[in-house]
Amino acid sequence: MEIIRIKVNSSACSGCLSCVTTCSMAHEQYVSLSAGRVQVTLRPFEIRHRIDICRQCAKHLCLEACPEGAIYRDQQDIVRIDDSRCTRCRLCMDACPIHAIFWNPVSEQVIKCDLCLGQPACVEVCPTGALTLNVLKRDARDERQEQVE
């Protein structure tokens, strides 16, 4: 079985924010920078913009931090939040080592990348290759697991 991951190359990012707004539209049907499961911090005076997005890592720190068991890894190896069980305590946000779980003040929900369950809208819209798709074999899971850093 193949699993997918999003590969991030922030040095290619043009700061168009299309990934953030498109993610918002795909998940919420409105456009808000607060609703992006990928976040880009524009830094107009720096060499690179900053991109934050969940790598679906195997560290499980967010799963372990959740007191309600609301975070789980699904059949496609995607780390997801069961919003019906989420109490908005935001401990997972603190636990994530790469700050890739976010608070959406519009919907008042904790949000993170769910890879659009297979076809990430952000990758499709990204014009410069800052976000690309990485397809991995499941049996290679151990090798690829520490993509973070």
């Binding site: 924010l17 539209m25 409105y30 808000s32 607060s34 290759g129």
Partner: protein
């Protein structure tokens, strides 16, 4: 539409009076949808609230900063914002004019809940307007006054957070230069118009925004499908797709892509790149965008841009001009070529005691400094390249071929700029567009000449669309083939001039990028017509607008709104400044200079022939429904456009047949 839910538009316009520090809001839909958004709504506000007799620097002048209906949505290339006010750069009158900037400020204003911002009055001390979602504060900015655009932004990032967006002026705006810009980030600016000086005159140093809310879309599914299809079409069938970075500059200067506005969907051939360059003069690493007109700073020896600078120095000069907030366009297409020609003709050799030397980075630095701070002769150059010759007492002849009209240097018209190849008869359309405008029209009207020059064999014989197909598209668009025929002379040029005039309004009102829209042609289809998701290219804007707003209006009604806005802008110039046909004809001498480039299909360089152009101008007026003697919209036209109040005002006015008496050469 559910109650209290606005689709496309955020729903409110913020109205700030700096004199009494009051803040109120107005409903956007009191103006839209009849005026769409952006430049259109600004025109309505200008008509209602900037009476005749007000000058650009008066507290009664309104600085109207309006996002478009699509700004902040996922529509491709939609992040732009329109600045509108009485224009310090405008000549001979301070026309009600406009300028358009990209970056990310406009979308964030919408996420904060506002479609636009109107600033009236004047603060007694320098202030920053701080918009944090619905909360609006007026902050002390005395510590920022005197600082450049870059440092102002960096300080506000420190004070208010790095996720904010900032619109600001540099020292040129503070010192009321008529060529002062309003800047956001490193090179996105409302450049033309001198609107930085309007901010300066109001003691408004910056407008900072944090927007955490949302823009709602009436039909998200359709909107997304259409946006995706248009993006696919741009990427596969367009002119600007698949550009590459310059490997050498990636290594040396850390070159990377930089979107000139939110929702840019391309690795763009339009030239937007970000660099980090060690400034030879400052010894500091400077970072920012370098694109568009800035590409002329290095010079091209033997041409109009007859000087030579290294890239590093050119980049540093760009940075200085952006930081001071000086208009690159007036500098590089006006002041600098003018000074160079004056020097060649022995009229001037020094400025403030420094020898004019455009091969010297230090001279450029001195020049920018004297303009920004109005030092010595820089005080007069700060009035802009159109006013400077009169004030300095030399070089009036040298300025004539450079300044097309209205205080703007020539551009995109076969005569000015000289970097863009545009030949007869295609610059006849720009001549008409210049005639009826109040600034350089080509911030949002590249479309016609791009269609004829860039897509045809004139630009690239290998990769082009045959003339027969371009003509067939022209027939569909303008109702006449000769509008785009390379051998047609003056015939039929009024049709594309009217069409692209309204398109310019459309783009600035929904706010879409001018390099991409209107998307008329494509390499993807047999008949060269751009199509996506069942839409035809010239209706993309309409289909995005209706899916975003949920309004059930026809494409004809949408186009009529653009025509309404165009006529309303004309009416403001008439009411406030007595604009008439006599003014429009002022563009003729500029076009009577020979064209700079020659058509491959003709055996000589052409120049405008007034006896052919004047009847064409009359045809243009007739097509617009304007009186041919006055150049005014007739009462019938204004009524047809749903502007009876405008018709009533104009019917009580006399046409000024001698505009010279009305000129203000201050």
């Amino acid at each position: 539409m559910t109650s209290n839910q606005s689709f496309g538009w955020a729903g409110k316009i913020l109205w700030v009076n700096l004199t009494n520090r009051s803040v109120e809001t107005r409903d956007t839909l009191d103006y839209g949808p009849a005026y769409i958004g952006g430049r259109g709504i600004a025109a309505r506000i200008g008509w209602e609230s900037i009476p005749a007799g007000v000058g650009a620097f008066d507290p009664e002048n309104l600085l109207i900063i309006m996002t478009g209906t699509l700004t902040g949505t996922t529509a491709p290339f939609s992040g732009r914002t329109s600045v509108n006010a009485l224009s310090p750069q405008g000549w001979p009158n301070e026309w009600f004019s406009r300028s358009n900037f990209g970056g990310h400020w406009g979308p964030s204003l919408k996420y904060a809940g506002y479609d636009g911002l109107v600033v009236e009055g004047k603060a007694d001390t320098p202030v920053t307007l701080w918009i944090e979602d619905e909360k609006v504060s007026i902050l002390d900015a005395r510590h920022l006054w005197g600082k450049g655009s870059m440092e102002t932004q960096k300080r506000l990032f420190q004070e208010l957070g790095e996720d904010i967006r900032v619109l600001t002026i540099g020292q040129a705006g503070e010192n009321l230069s008529r060529i002062a810009i309003i800047t956001t980030e490193t090179e996105s600016a409302a450049g033309q118009g001198g609107f930085g000086a309007v901010m300066g005159s109001k003691n408004l140093k910056a407008v900072a925004v944090r927007g955490r809310g949302a823009v709602h879309i009436a039909d998200p599914e359709t909107f997304t499908r259409r946006s995706k299809a248009i993006i696919h079409e741009v990427r596969t069938g367009g002119l600007f797709s698949n550009a590459k970075l310059d490997e050498k500059r990636v290594k040396t200067y850390k070159q990377r892509w930089q979107a000139c506005t939110q929702q840019c969907a391309l690795n763009c051939g339009g030239g937007c790149r970000f660099y980090a360059v060690m400034g030879p003069l400052s010894g500091e690493e400077l970072r920012g965008q370098f694109h568009c007109v800035s590409n002329f700073i290095p010079g091209i020896p033997g041409t109009y841009y007859d000087w030579k600078l290294e890239f590093d120095s050119a980049f540093e000069i760009r940075h200085m001009a952006d930081d001071y907030g000086i208009n690159h366009w007036d500098l590089l297409l006006g002041i600098v070529p003018w000074l160079r020609d004056c020097q060649k003709h022995g009229l001037v050799n020094q400025l403030n005691g420094r020898r004019i030397d455009f091969n010297s980075p230090q001279f450029w630095a001195d020049l920018l400094h004297m303009i920004a701070f109005r030092l010595g002769e820089g005080d007069l150059l700060a009035e802009g390249g159109k006013r400077a010759p009169e004030l300095l007492g030399f070089g009036q002849e040298e300025a004539r071929p450079l300044y097309a009209a209205w205080g703007s240097a020539g551009h995109w018209d076969g005569h000015g700029d000289r970097g863009n190849v545009i030949v007869y008869p295609f610059w006849i359309v720009p001549a008409l567009q210049w005639a009826v405008d109040v600034r350089d029209p080509f911030s949002s009207a590249h479309g016609y000449t791009a269609t004829t020059m860039h897509w045809s064999a004139f630009l690239n014989e290998e990769h082009c669309i045959p003339w027969e197909k371009i003509k067939a598209v022209g027939k569909q668009l303008y109702g006449i083939e000769s509008g785009v025929d390379p051998l047609s002379g003056y015939e039929g040029k009024e049709y594309p001039a009217v069409w692209h005039g309204d398109r310019s309004v459309m783009k600035d009102s929904v706010s879409l990028d001018d390099n991409i829209f209107p998307m008329l042609l494509s390499f993807n289809s047999d008949d060269a017509v751009s199509r996506a998701d069942g839409m035809v290219g010239w209706e993309y804007e309409y289909h995005l607008f209706t899916a975003a707003t949920g309004l059930r209006l026809s494409v004809e009604e949408f186009n009529l709104a653009c025509e309404r806005i165009f006529n309303l802008e004309r009416a403001i110039q008439i009411r406030n400044f007595g604009r008439s046909r006599r003014d429009d004809e002022c563009v003729i001498p500029y076009f009577e200079y020979p064209e700079w480039w020659q058509s491959k299909l003709l055996d000589e360089k052409k120049k405008l022939e007034a006896d052919k152009f004047l009847p064409l101008l009359e045809k243009y007026y007739l097509l617009r429904g304007w009186d041919v003697n006055a150049g005014w919209p007739t009462s019938e036209t204004l009524s047809r456009l749903g502007l009876p109040d405008v018709a009533q005002t104009l019917s009580g006015m006399q046409v000024q047949m001698a505009p010279e008496e009305n000129q203000t050469n201050n």
